[in-house]
């Protein structure tokens, strides 16, 4: 029943989120794409949740490697899938937002590069699972990918930051130009909370689904 409550809460939050974004959030003062600016409230939380999902996947992966308890692997896998989706949304919304505002489809600053690399790492996580000779090895290898991906994140951020510092100006993240008005901040936080809720919901549901699949597989094995 916790699942039902979570589902209802998240649905409500997401609905409320949309309303807030379009009604309560202040209209942007930029000359171009006044309404487009509202995509910011989808873009930033998606990226942040993507980061969270990577952290979850990495921690769950370490626990799986050490303890070999299936539940941890399922959490990591579900995180990777959800994370891929959130990062994809972040990248797409980022592109939609960037084009009219900065005349380019993507900005290779620290945030942008990190998002892209982590998205790639998630895809690699899923590919490795698919290509491994057995499912068990696939789970272990993917866990290794998640851990190494998490370890590389700060390096990617730093290197991309230096690199971008030489070539473009920083547009998002700490120290970016502009600051958030109160209302923008509130809506952003609410959106973030709603997205985190969605993430939790996805993890819970997907892990349970994977557990059922495994149980089914086990039964099939016993019967043959």
């Amino acid at each position: 029943m916790v699942g039902r409550i979570l589902l209802m809460a998240v649905s409500l939050a997401l609905l409320a989120n949309v309303v807030l974004i379009f009604q309560y959030a202040p209209t942007a003062s930029t000359a171009l794409g006044v309404q487009i600016q509202r995509i910011f409230y989808f873009h930033v939380p998606s990226a942040i949740v993507g980061l969270i999902s990577f952290a979850v996947a990495a921690v769950a992966s370490v626990l799986y490697l050490k303890r070999r308890v299936r539940a941890w692997d399922r959490v990591a896998w579900a995180s990777a899938e959800a994370g891929t989706v959130f990062f994809t949304v972040a990248i797409v919304t980022g592109a939609i937002w960037a084009k009219p505002v900065w005349q380019t489809w993507w900005v290779w600053d620290a945030n942008g590069t990190l998002t892209f690399v982590l998205w790639l790492m998630f895809i690699t996580y899923l590919v490795v699972r698919a290509y491994a000779p057995t499912t068990e090895r696939g789970a272990r290898w993917a866990a290794v990918v998640a851990v190494l991906g998490a370890a590389v994140a700060p390096f990617v951020y730093m290197a991309a930051d230096w690199w971008a510092g030489l070539h473009t100006e920083r547009v998002t993240g700490p120290g970016a130009q502009g600051s958030l008005e109160d209302r923008m901040f509130l809506v952003l936080m609410f959106s973030l909370t709603a997205f985190v809720g969605l993430f939790s919901l996805l993890i819970v549901q997907r892990s349970a689904q994977l557990a059922n699949e495994e149980a089914l597989e086990e039964l099939r094995r016993q019967l043959i």
Binding site: A132, P133, V144, V145, L148, G149, V152, M158
Partner: protein, 224 residues
């Protein structure tokens, strides 16, 4: 500790002896590197002005892709001929196997890079004979080989290893590539420690983190 060194050395010596006899990895890698350099020669107009801008980039793209080839071979043969099992059966610590293979791959990659220096000179009038560049190349190549050896072990067990290894290796190595290119550019500008130092330190930190992580993760990748 002595066991570790003795076992690592045994593996390194064996790989070097095999390479000396067959020369298959180093010839393949060299031919590939030369071809890549040639293609760049046609892709860009190699005027001195352009080369001073893209030179380091060309060098490190060539080295990164050639590196993938060398790293692939370090495990592909063992896996295909079945001898990897012989190594797994022996009572050596997994870290020693990692270290021995790492050292062998590193030797080959550095040898290829060394031979490419005069070739870059001839093709692009790009002189890389410079202590700071050498240091940068050394530290960067260690960074490549650190995670590359781990991923090569993974990829060797799959059918699509030519696809999987780059996918695993390149995103993780992005910070190294950025640092190597920047450091190389600085070394060519004659910057010395002031310009190159921070990149060297960055890469050394990367190397340490990934040497430790990769040797830890190695056992999980090899286990059947």
């Amino acid at each position: 500790m002595r066991d570790f060194l003795s076992a690592s050395w045994a593996i390194y010596a064996k790989d070097m002896r095999l390479e000396a006899r067959t020369k298959e990895t180093i010839t393949g890698a060299l031919v590939f590197a030369v071809i890549v350099a040639f293609i760049f020669g046609f892709a860009f107009d190699p005027s001195p002005r352009i080369i001073s801008v893209v030179g380091p980039g060309i060098v490190w793209v060539a080295f990164a892709f050639t590196g993938v080839l060398s790293m692939n071979r370090s495990f592909a043969n063992e896996r295909d001929r079945g001898t990897l099992e012989g190594l797994m059966l022996a009572p050596l610590p997994r870290e020693a196997l990692y270290a021995g293979k790492l050292a062998a791959t590193l030797t080959i990659m550095l040898a290829v890079e060394l031979v490419m220096l005069p070739i870059f000179l001839v093709l692009f009038d790009l002189s890389l004979f410079n202590v700071w560049f050498a240091l940068t190349a050394l530290v960067a190549t260690v960074g490549f080989a650190a995670s590359g050896t781990l991923f090569a072990a993974m990829a060797a067990h799959t059918r699509a290893r030519e696809v999987l290894l780059p996918l695993l290796f390149l995103p993780i190595s992005l910070p190294v590539i950025i640092a190597a290119v920047s450091g190389s550019a600085a070394s060519l500008d004659g910057d010395g420690w002031d310009g190159v130092g921070m990149w060297l330190q960055f890469m050394m930190a990367f190397d340490m983190v990934f040497l430790v992580l990769s040797s830890w993760a190695f056992q999980y990748v090899l286990e059947e």
